[in-house]
């Protein structure tokens, strides 16, 4: 007669998985009732108001005890992020300019070995485009500088407020 080995842990796993599946189905069914949805819906507004009140109290309290709030810190961080984004854009433009320089260099080499009107026109166009890009870049740098100045002022204002 052959021996039948019962693996307790294997049985436990299979039974447990089945039990979990059934319990979860029951919970999901219970949660998927209109009464639960109505209850959630009716509690959403009061909860929003409560959070609003607590946040207002915290803001007021932080004024008295001179502590920065999460909003103050978030605003300050936002300024850094704006600058970071600007620098990122400038970096992109510099990269494009570098690529254009490579094109110009190639055209000059071609013009040297084979002087023609076509290459000459292409070169003039490239240089004009590059000049425009540089001018745009300069404007953006001025804007970034202005933005940084205004951010600095805003940051000082925030520091005074907190």
């Amino acid at each position: 007669m052959a021996h039948v080995t019962i693996d307790f842990y294997e049985l436990l796993k299979k039974g447990g998985t089945l039990l979990q599946y059934r319990l979860n189905n029951r919970i999901k069914n219970s949660l998927n009732q209109m009464s639960v949805i109505d209850l959630t819906s009716s509690k959403a507004n009061p909860l929003t108001n409560k959070i609003d009140q607590i946040q207002n109290y915290t803001e007021q309290l932080s004024n008295y005890i001179n502590l920065p709030t999460k909003t103050d810190l978030a605003n300050a961080t936002q300024l850094i992020l704006q600058s970071e984004e600007k620098i990122d854009n400038l970096d992109d433009q510099l990269f494009e300019l570098t690529n254009m320089m490579k094109d110009v260099k190639q055209l000059i080499e071609q013009l040297g070995s084979n002087p023609s009107d076509d290459y000459s026109n292409q070169l003039t166009n490239k240089i004009t485009e590059q000049e425009q890009r540089i001018s745009t870049l300069q404007n953006e740098l001025v804007q970034t500088r202005q933005q940084l100045d205004s951010q600095k002022e805003e940051f000082n204002f925030t520091n005074q407020a907190i």
């Binding site: 796993k13 447990g16 998985t17 919970i27 819906s41 929003t48 961080t77």
Partner: protein, 337 residues
């Protein structure tokens, strides 16, 4: 023996494994996001891989550890890999939208990857909600995406069998959560964790029984500890992003019904002409295949395949090799150098 297994079981529960061990370099950073570069052991293909992961979990599920890492499998097979890691959003990121994720992070990161790789032909792979974002990105700018792979990525939100009444209430505006989300600013990781759990399995203990059953197997306990760590390791979601997911994706089902805009530009999925591989798994209560498959009818790709695997939501990526037919598909659609 039973005593030893029990000791292993207890040890595994308290063990905090080191994840994300593949060789990598940060090549671009913005706010909390980082573009990681994982070099191939020996680069064999012209097309590099650009990975886009979900915005509700940490991406280290793609690199759980040696011999259980999809990224390692890509590198070993000869592909250079770039991963856009969105980082962990904080309160100052509460106004971050899906539009921002697409244009400021995914698109910008992709530009940087092109610049770094020295090639403008890529395979873009999106996982879970990252696949949804990858689809939108591919529709917005399809120029450099030779291949698009979507793994367990929800597209069609028209039905949630377990919570159909909730979906109906949301569609009929009986459930208003926008104001609450605005006040909260960001959705804390605990809420993301328990929200996901409610969708999948409100009560979850069978994985402990599975561990108890196989606590004597070293490889199994290693993988279990890493998977368990990731499962519990959710990140906060920016309030504006969450509202867009709930309103545009779930309530209005704009991915399929149309009307989805990114920075004011209407998204047309028929712009996608890349070779497309979509895969889904049979036992995935979070993103069942019915949510993934409809993308097949929305794109213009001539070469497109849909594959349904055995297994669950995250099981496919935590292996030492790419799941087949992904490996052969990728090889066939990449250019050898």
């Amino acid at each position: 023996m039973a005593k030893k297994n029990l000791a292993n079981f207890i040890h595994t529960l308290s063990y905090d494994p080191v994840v994300g061990q593949s060789e990598r370099y940060a090549i671009w950073k913005k706010n909390k996001a980082t573009l990681w570069y994982y070099p191939a052991k020996r680069r064999k293909y012209k097309e590099s891989i650009y990975l886009i992961y979900s915005i509700v979990n940490k991406p280290y599920i793609l690199d759980l550890g040696p011999s259980m890492s999809l990224i390692e499998a890509f590198n070993t097979a000869g592909y250079d890999v770039y991963l856009i890691d969105f980082g962990i959003p904080a309160y100052e990121d509460r106004h971050l939208t899906i539009d921002d994720y697409i244009t400021k992070y995914i698109q910008q990161g992709f530009k940087r990857a092109i610049r770094h790789a020295g090639t403008d032909s890529f395979t873009v792979i999106g996982f879970c909600l990252g696949g949804t974002l990858a689809t939108i990105f591919a529709a917005l700018d399809n120029r450099h995406i030779k291949n698009l792979i979507l793994a367990v990525s929800p597209i069609d939100f028209s039905a949630f069998p377990d919570y159909n009444n909730w979906l109906m209430a949301l569609r009929e505006n009986e459930l208003q959560i926008d104001e609450l989300i605005d006040k909260m600013g960001i959705i804390p990781p605990e809420s993301v964790k328990y929200g996901t759990r409610l969708l999948v399995a409100p009560l979850s203990f069978s994985h402990y029984l599975a561990l108890l059953n196989r606590s004597g197997e070293k490889n199994y306990t290693e993988k279990w500890a890493r998977m368990n760590k990731w499962t519990l390791d959710h990140i906060p979601v920016a309030g504006e992003t969450f509202k867009q997911i709930m309103n545009d994706f779930v309530r209005d089902n704009k991915m399929v019904e149309g009307g989805l805009t990114i920075n004011g530009e209407e998204i047309d999925f028929s712009n996608i002409q890349s070779n497309l591989l979509v895969f889904s798994t049979k036992n995935d209560p979070l993103v069942p295949s019915s949510l993934c498959e409809p993308i097949m009818d929305l794109v213009s790709s001539k070469d497109k395949s849909f594959v349904l695997f055995e297994g669950g939501h995250a099981g496919l990526v935590a292996k030492s090799h790419m799941p087949e037919p992904m490996e052969s598909w990728l090889r066939a659609h990449s250019t050898s150098i």
